[in-house]
Amino acid sequence: MKTKEHNSPPPKEKHKIICFSSGKGGVGKTSISVNLAVGLAQRGKKVLLVDGDLGLANVDIVLGLNARHTMREIVEEGASPNEILEEIIPGFSVLPASSGVPEMANLAYEEQAFLTDAVEQIIDAFDYVFVDSAAGIGDSVLWFNNWADDNVIVLTPDPTSLTDAYALIKVLHTQYGKKCFNLIINNVKGQKEGEAVFLNMSTVLGNFLGIVPEFLGAIPQDTAVVQAVRKQRPFLIDNPDTKAGRAILKIVDLLF
């Protein structure tokens, strides 16, 4: 029979698994999650970014990473996530996904569970785990959002983006019981537009779903972002003192 001879270790802080989703594609999820990860790493935090777009990966492209190993190996070969992990800068590591692999985009429930379970084996080493999910409301998007502790929804002022973000929140709320959502409004003309879009979305969410979202911030239109994506370098590394860079750092303050 076991006896307690040692003092129990202090309880570990809950992992911060944050899933970035949008509903609509191309609204800047990957760019935002990558730069937030860079910002937190620059402040001494350890961040793991999981590319949740399992069949059409983008994180490695935005980072200019030529990943030889991907999460496909975890699912298909039972590889350890440690074998796949790529360190971008000190404190910021990435689990890359594969691109052009339909079967990875349509994992069975058991495979998704297997994958998140494998990732959980290494998250002790990190302060934050970000998941950059795929666009849409597919199984993997819902699974990662359900797995995460916090849900960040990225949207732009476009009606299509608003509708898709709202639809995603509605699904996560109705089918998965999620109630807390954090919104980042990307590609706005100015802070006022960002706040107006948030207020509008917040009103509709409150009226129809009884949800009160949190405003994480608004990121203004900035050519530095476009250039950074083309250069495959996070703008927070090369051009932190830009409109978008400053907005990202404000959000880093909130997450820190």
């Binding site: 069975a108 429930y109 058991e110 495979e111 569970a113 297997f114 998140t116 379970d117 359900n146 797995w147 002022p157 009606p159 608003l162 509708t163 709202y166 639809a167 509605k170 699904v171 109705t174 089918q175 998965y176 019981g177 107006a196 879009v197 207020l199 509008n200 979305m201 009103t203 509709v204 009226n207 129809f208």
Partner: protein, 274 residues
């Protein structure tokens, strides 16, 4: 007031329950092991992707131990179907052996339903009835054919529908299959596979032997009770039986319960932007 033994047992049960709860998201099965007196002895966790032969070896090893027993009833042939999904059934081995086919089915349905609520993974139920009356030999043959075509995680039971309390609409033997982790498309495919396997069996032709199948899918987000869910599947079985030799499922349920963004929601979303 609890005695020390009671407290210890209670604590152990709690630990097992906690363990089951925490591994519910993992692709694993649990096998509760009971003492002969019905008290919980331990828990064995099996990875879902464990090879069949290894799994059978583990089951046999546990079964060889004296003084303990795993939950099982019926013949050894069906032993590997008795491993319950998380959480395991609460009945002791003795109780489980006394369960009727229907009770066994309901117990497993409750366990799978609980698992679905924890993992948000849907599951499906097939209720199968032959289109014409069958002799007991024919029925056993049909039952064995279906059993032989089940996947490892599927749970199969046979019960007399007419004996179910409150069931006035349907009579005869019902063959029930619980398919864990299956949404509508997967369950439809499995139902059709089972039907084809039955028709392809020697001695059974589709002309002679039609099968009516009622199919129900339980989505975790719907929070529907087991009995209520079962009633809906039985309704589909009745519909299938009325048509004859087909699979019936509720086609509109998912969309009726969907999260579709309504015109009113859209109007508000866009209204203030203009």
């Amino acid at each position: 007031m609890k005695t020390d033994t009671q407290s210890a047992n209670h604590s152990f049960s709690n630990s097992v329950h906690q363990l089951e709860k925490h591994i519910a998201r993992i692709a694993a099965y649990s096998l509760r092991i009971y003492n002969d007196d019905g008290s919980l002895n331990g828990i064995c966790l099996l990875a879902a992707d464990l090879q069949q032969e290894k799994r059978e070896a583990i089951e046999k090893a546990i079964n060889r131990c004296k003084g303990i027993t795993v939950e099982k009833s019926g013949s050894d042939k069906t032993f590997n179907k008795k491993i319950s999904l998380l959480p395991a059934k609460k009945k002791s081995a003795k109780d489980a052996a006394q369960l009727s086919g229907y009770e066994y089915f309901i117990e497993n349905l409750e366990a799978v339903s609980h698992h679905a609520a924890l993992t948000r993974i849907p599951f499906s139920v097939l209720l199968i009835q032959p289109c014409r009356a069958m002799s007991s030999t024919e029925l056993k043959y049909l039952s064995d054919t279906i059993r032989d075509n089940l996947n490892y995680e599927d749970i199969f039971s046979v019960y007399e529908a007419a004996k179910i309390h409150g069931n006035k609409g349907r009579k005869g033997v019902c063959l029930a299959v619980i398919i864990p982790s299956a949404g509508l498309s997967k369950a439809r495919k499995r139902a059709e596979e089972i039907r084809q396997a039955v028709f392809a069996s020697p001695g059974v032709s589709k002309k002679k032997q039609g099968l009516s199948v009622g199919l129900g899918v339980s989505y975790a987000g719907e929070c529907i009770g087991v009995r209520e869910f079962l009633l809906s599947v039985e309704k589909h079985l009745q519909e299938a039986a009325a048509i004859g030799d087909c699979i019936s499922w509720e086609k509109g349920r998912r969309s009726a319960n969907s999260c579709q963004v309504t015109a009113e929601e859209r109007a508000q979303l866009f209204g203030q932007l203009k």
